[in-house]
């Protein structure tokens, strides 16, 4: 393995991670500088509470039956899960290769990662097409939306190819994957991809409010 690849796999990633961590920290401070709205009202509804509401809200992502938007569109939920599992796998891969490369001697793990990342790549392509062709998606999309999605999809592609960690036949694929990873880490805090930083907060506040008001957990009959 070349010194350059070693640097890109390790040192560069640490620098990028540090940068991302710093910007995220600043981002958190920015969010926290907004005054949080309070709630003086006595609770409404039955059998729920802010705590239950928050828990329900946080776990919402794992309950496709909870929201009509995911309940009625199973494919949308499935592609969401596949895409995000792919992200987790590709991030995991970026740590496994420099720090636990021997794990990739396991053919099972290699296949699991390849399937996960490969499917996520397919979803990424589908998402790009949807974003470019669906009238609503086109209307609401910004350059950042397109770029972030394309970036991730290309990243999946190189992650998929990098899974075997085979640098004997050339380092181009691995080099590209890790350079993309580093760029990704630096770019994320400025893009929509940083949504996962907000997720716990948005769902916390929505859950707290609607739990206090007896709405969360949602009840329905259908």
């Amino acid at each position: 393995m070349s010194e350059t690849l070693l640097f890109v796999e390790d040192t560069l990633q640490i620098w990028a991670l540090q940068f991302m961590g710093t910007v995220y920290f600043l981002r958190l401070l920015w969010i926290l500088h907004f005054k949080a709205g309070g709630d003086r009202q006595a609770p409404t509804g039955r059998g729920t509470s802010p705590r239950k509401g928050i828990l329900y809200s946080w776990l919402n992502v794992a309950m496709p039956w909870a929201m009509e938007s995911t309940r009625k569109r199973a494919f949308m939920y499935a592609q969401f899960i596949i895409f995000h599992l792919g992200v987790v796998s590709a991030i995991g891969l970026s740590f496994i290769i420099p720090y636990a490369a021997e794990w990739l001697h396991s053919l099972v793990l290699v296949r699991v990662l390849q399937v996960s990342i490969g499917l996520a790549f397919a979803v990424g392509v589908w998402r790009i097409i949807r974003r470019m062709t669906h009238p609503v998606m086109r209307k609401i999309s910004s350059p950042d939306d397109y770029f972030s999605l394309i970036l991730l999809t290309v990243w999946f592609f190189f992650a998929f190819l990098s899974v075997p960690n085979n640098h004997q036949d050339g380092e181009g694929v691995l080099m590209t994957f890790f350079l993309l990873t580093a760029f990704f880490l630096v770019y994320v805090p400025f893009s929509k991809i940083s949504h996962y930083l907000y997720y716990p907060f948005t769902r916390f506040y929505l859950g707290r409010t609607l739990g206090h008001r007896g709405v969360f957990p949602l009840r329905r009959t259908s």
Binding site: F34, M67, S69, M137, I140, K192, T202, S222
Partner: protein, 580 residues
């Protein structure tokens, strides 16, 4: 205007935006990933599938772009990359108004369908408030807000009118129950219950006050109604004006405290319940020391405690229930109405989807007061109409006055064979009134119905208005005074009926979808057969008066501004008909 200079109003909006955004709003503005999952949650989208500008994410982006441009670093540095942008002209502010007032009822259905937890309704309300703060709002919102600020209630009901109505309802109750003690107590101190209502009940539907009074009386409740500060509705919720919201809520809370009431019972009104029970304490920064509950819960409690006896066989017509967005999606009030219905009606049919997932009646968020958006509203109402139709019910019950109006309008528009009722009506109808110990009561003998003595006896009047409440109100007042009344909800019907019936008088609204009142008036005057029929213009838009008088036809015989009470209406009609 150049991109370097901003109009005064646009400047104020930007300035206030930075002060108004709190953490929850900032997160909702920052967290959207444009996944599009909210799209089909919105009834406007479902009714307009080819128009992406109705998508909640798109509508939110009209506000989000400002936030990003002025408050978020990426948007400040590379605005085009994240579609950030500012606002410079009053025209742009008007475009924003069209979105936040005319394309969203703040029903919150998209909020509960957003995987990220983006609460668009809160953001939309905030944007409404910013526009209102610089005087940009639909005219109806301005009129209603003004009434609530200045007169103390959103329909401009005067104190005398309110007290007269309560007196009238007291008399009706005494006669119905043959009990002199059956009155509506006003400003009684130290009561268990202080009952607050929607001014619409005074203006158009006093029967609901009488029904509630009957329930309180039979339940043996120690209750009262306040002489002032009785309006539990709050246009601040719709206009986004927290100052108005706080002032209105405070007025009510302080009155209850002044009366030393133990509990504030809020009549059936979705936005009133939410504003008074949930949002009011926050807007007014008021720690409310008494209990507040919906009259639905009160009625249910009375039945469970054995204070009311009901017989569901008195309500046999199939009934369905429409969940008000504010009640169900913002206050968790959805099981109690069903429990009450199960006690007072025989045939209840669930509507799907329901509870927190129910669709808006399309009249929410103040939409009923924004007549400029009526065609848009009625188009989106197809979603609700289909929901209603699928139940097979003949009565749709709702615990919200806005929903009553919205549903009535769409039922008429889509020609559904249904009526709208509230729980208080059905509960009062199901009451089993036990015989009381006979107390000699001086009940005024029924006045013989000498129709000829009625002031408008024999007169035929055509009432033209697109608002069903107004049609009902005018028809009732004129009919009760002996007139033979026909109704026309639009211009075409008006012209047909005028030719067929040749009425003695036409009362004509100006702002109506399709053929507006000005055109109808001119058409009437230009038709030799109809030109001689006196016309009384009755409008909520006084500024349109000039447009009527500028027309090259003889002016109308009468002109009244809404809101108009029964006495004024009657007096003017009699004057025009030369009966006084």
């Amino acid at each position: 205007m150049s991109r370097n200079s901003r109009s005064y109003k646009a400047e104020r909006v930007i300035e206030r935006l930075t002060r108004k955004v709190n953490r929850q709003m900032a997160l909702s503005l920052a967290a959207c990933v444009h996944c599009g999952m909210c799209t089909e949650a919105c009834h406007y989208v479902l009714a307009n599938p080819d128009d992406p500008t109705y998508a909640p994410a798109y509508k939110a982006d009209r506000i989000r772009r400002l936030f990003k441009r002025h408050m978020d670093w990426t948007g400040r540095v590379i605005p085009w990359w994240v579609k950030a942008g500012s606002i410079y002209t009053d025209e742009e502010l008007n475009e924003l108004m069209d979105t936040v007032f005319g394309k969203c009822t703040n029903c919150r259905r998209c909020s509960i369908n957003c995987p990220m937890g983006v609460d668009f309704a809160v953001v939309n309300r905030m944007a409404r408030g910013l526009l209102v703060s610089v005087g940009i709002m639909p005219e109806g919102v301005a009129v209603v807000s003004k009434d609530q600020w200045e007169i103390g209630n959103q329909m401009g009901v005067l104190k005398e009118e309110y007290l007269d109505t309560l007196d009238w309802m007291s008399e009706e109750l005494q006669q119905e129950l043959k009990d002199p003690a059956a009155i509506i107590p006003i400003d009684k101190m130290d009561c268990e219950v202080v009952y607050s209502i929607n001014p619409r009940e005074v203006k158009y539907d006093p029967r609901t006050i009488a029904d509630a009074a009957k329930i309180f009386h039979i339940a043996g409740e120690n209750w009262t109604m306040p002489s002032e500060g009785w309006d539990m509705t709050n246009f601040g919720l719709f206009s986004g004006d927290d100052d108005l919201g706080g002032a209105v809520a405070r007025r009510l809370y302080e009155k209850v405290e002044e009366l030393r009431g133990k509990k504030l019972v809020i009549s059936e009104c979705g936005h009133g319940y939410r504003s008074t029970r949930c949002e009011g304490p926050n807007w007014a920064k008021y720690d409310v020391p008494f209990v507040m509950e919906s009259s639905v819960i009160t009625m249910l409690r009375y039945i469970r405690e054995g204070r009311l006896k009901v017989d569901k066989s008195k309500n046999t017509i199939p009934v369905t229930f429409h969940d008000s967005c504010n009640n169900a999606r913002s206050c968790g009030l959805f099981e109690e109405p069903r429990e009450l219905l199960s006690l007072v009606v025989e045939d209840f049919r669930e509507m799907y989807p329901n509870r927190s997932e129910n669709y808006c009646c399309t009249g929410g968020g103040g939409a009923m007061s924004m007549s400029e958006y009526t065609p848009r509203r009625l188009k989106s109402a197809i979603v609700k109409a289909e929901q209603l139709k699928a139940t097979g019910a003949k009565i749709v019950v709702t615990s919200c006055h806005n929903c009553v109006d919205g549903l009535t309008d769409l039922i008429r528009h889509y020609k559904l064979d249904m009526q709208v009722a509230q729980l208080v009506n059905l509960t009062a109808n199901a009451l089993v009134v036990e015989a009381r110990v006979a107390v000699p009561v001086e009940v005024p003998a029924a006045v013989p119905a000498v129709e000829a003595a009625l002031p408008l006896h024999g007169r035929r009047i055509l009432v033209v208005d697109d608002e069903p409440d107004i049609l009902t109100f005018f028809s009732t007042v004129l009919g009760d005074n002996g007139a033979s009344v026909t109704q026309a909800p639009d211009g075409a019907t008006c012209m047909d009926l005028a030719r067929k019936e040749k009425p003695d008088l036409i009362t004509l609204d100006l702002s109506m979808p399709g053929m507006d009142g000005g055109k109808i008036f001119e058409a009437l005057r230009n038709d030799p057969e109809l030109a001689g029929i006196p016309v009384c213009i009755i409008t909520g838009k006084p500024e349109l008066r000039r447009l009527i008088y500028d027309r090259p036809v003889p002016p109308p015989e009468g002109y009244l501004d809404k809101p108009v009470n029964d006495e004024t209406l009657l007096l003017n009609v009699r004057k025009i008909l030369k009966l006084v």
